[in-house]
Amino acid sequence: MKIKTMGDLDKLREAGLKSLAPKQLKISISMSTCGHALGADILYHELVKEKAKQGLKISIGQTGCSGFCNLEPMAVLRLHGRPPLLYTQVTVKKVKRIIQDIKRKKITKQGLLCTIGSDSVSGEPDPALNNIPDYKEVSPFKDQHRRLLENCGIINPLSVSEYVAMEGYSALYKALYQMDPEVVVDEVIQSGLRGRGGAWFPTGIKWDMARKAQHKEKFVICNADEGDPGAFKDRTIMEGNPFKLFEGIVLAGYAIGSHQGLIYLREEYPHTYEFLNDAVYTAKRYGLLGKNILGSNFNFTLKIIRGGGSYVCGEETALMDSLEGEMGDPRLRPPFPIEKGLWERPTIVNNVETLANIPHIIEHGGESYAGIGTEKAKGTKILSVIGKIKQPGLYEVPLGTNLEHVIFNMAGGPLNGSQIKAVQVGSPFGNFLSGEKLDISLDPETLRSMGSMIGSGVIVVLNQDTCLVDILLHTLSFFVEESCGKCVPCREGVFQMKEIMTAIYEGRSTMEDLTSLHDIGGMIKDFALCALGGGAPSLILNGIRDFRKDFEAHITTGKCSWTS
């Protein structure tokens, strides 16, 4: 069915609400890439078998990942008249027990994390759920401000009606029928939204320039080449709520006058590729992509393109080379993509997270969006907190949230009560901050003033028994392997730095090698063509400055300071 009018949208919303608050018991298993890795598909099929065997009057559905993969597979249980219940680390045995208990009019408490009291699906207060907290009160969801991830892990990611029930597509409808493209751009400028891929360029300004560029053909490129090791926020959005992303992309197209969108997806996400293609197919069927979107005169097509497994292709100009069937070499700018981008046409390249913000901005207005964040960085940011941490995962918080608060209060602090040695914000390029310097505001300006960056929001927590020489060497190896080879400072210089770091790690070096690292590093910083080459030396040189003891131990004894 194609959605053509407000009435169609209303009907769909009703269907979605019914699906989210069904009359009979519904169990939804989270089936993203991480869920699959932890047995969600087996669980799903066992459940289907059990339903047939026992003739159960239940429906079985699916959700995406909520950002806490170690708690997968999760299951959302929907009982008539009650708020949905969220179970974690569900097994076949546990789910059978849950069904048994429901037959006896009991609610299984084991594995039950919280209720999901979201506005549009909440039920009545229930004495049986007295001691069960709402997800806003319970770790790891507590203190989050889930604007982008609000539906992830809750709705069926491939159900248009469920997304519509959660306010989905009302922003696009509003824009297509009530707003001129320049008004859409103005709202985005007002919102203060800046690029979440790591460059933090004002999105609205980019769009404004692209809108004013005179050309019949323009492109919207969604950068889904989530290459920073440790990042999985884009995957979570794409697999948890793809239509939110599509809505953002179509809005971008409408705003700048483009009718063609491309999602450049990293090769390492094969499940996501299949999944997004399914989502595109569904969106077309509902008239949310293709001709006359939502019954308007606006046409927009969207294609998913697989990358080839190259980190540098996450850089926008290299990405466009790759889309044109070339090797990914960063281009010199100007000309900028907004003038001459893909096939020399005006092009905007925006990250998945950036585009997922757009529906909220259009629905609630730029000013309202800008209500949270810092003076210069508005809205929320999804942080990927990983490493030696009790509760790793994705934490969506307002920009300007305190790093210490995120690590200790939200993510539970370091693993097994150990001490934090260092935290890297903005991995892989951000500096390693020592464990005593974590009382900082998470926003691009603060990090920049410290000589570092927030990047795409990867936060790596290291405890006492991690060695900075080892970690920095590992990161350097990544840079060497991912150097595109176009410029000499990066191709040869970073390689030489890695050779020296390897010698230090293996105890085959002298203190003079630290001076050589400085000399080579300084040269690379001055002459590398793009941020990949230029970023590598800073990381190492700052590491030597702040964790000199680790280096000295390796140079003098050939091993870490704490090993005997």
């Binding site: 890439t33 440790g230 094969p270 080839g308 790759s322 030696k388 290291l462």
Partner: protein
Amino acid sequence: MEREKIKRIVSKHRHEKAAILAILHEIQEEDKQLETESLNYIAQLLKIPVANVYGLATFYSAFSLGKKGDTKIRVCSGISCHINGADEVNEALKSKFNLEMGETTWDEKFSLEKVHCLGLCSIGPNVAFNLVTYPKLNKERIETIIEILHKRTGDSK
């Protein structure tokens, strides 16, 4: 790969030069490799220099000139997996299959390679066997998995 098959794949993409990555992906998936002959023929069909096609096939890590295994083992070397003990998992894989990273077993059943991040950073160390990812690995767990795989596919040492 037979010329007919290559021709079919290239025609499916309407001989568009921009679709070359997709073309290479499809050939790699089916043939487990990009043979020199295939690259030459693709260049001929798309009317572009062989050097360009060869350049792409060697620039992008998804492609391989040598044969990959029926089961492509991809080891995550992301920072989270590294911190949580990916090295011992890698060593176990290398010694059990007697392979270095980038190599394939003699019977072409398994190949081993490193990827920079599988995006499953809360549940590492991770290793993907084709489309199936095994999370939370350590030396013992990966050895058990390999044993089961060997039994299922016949010996491949």
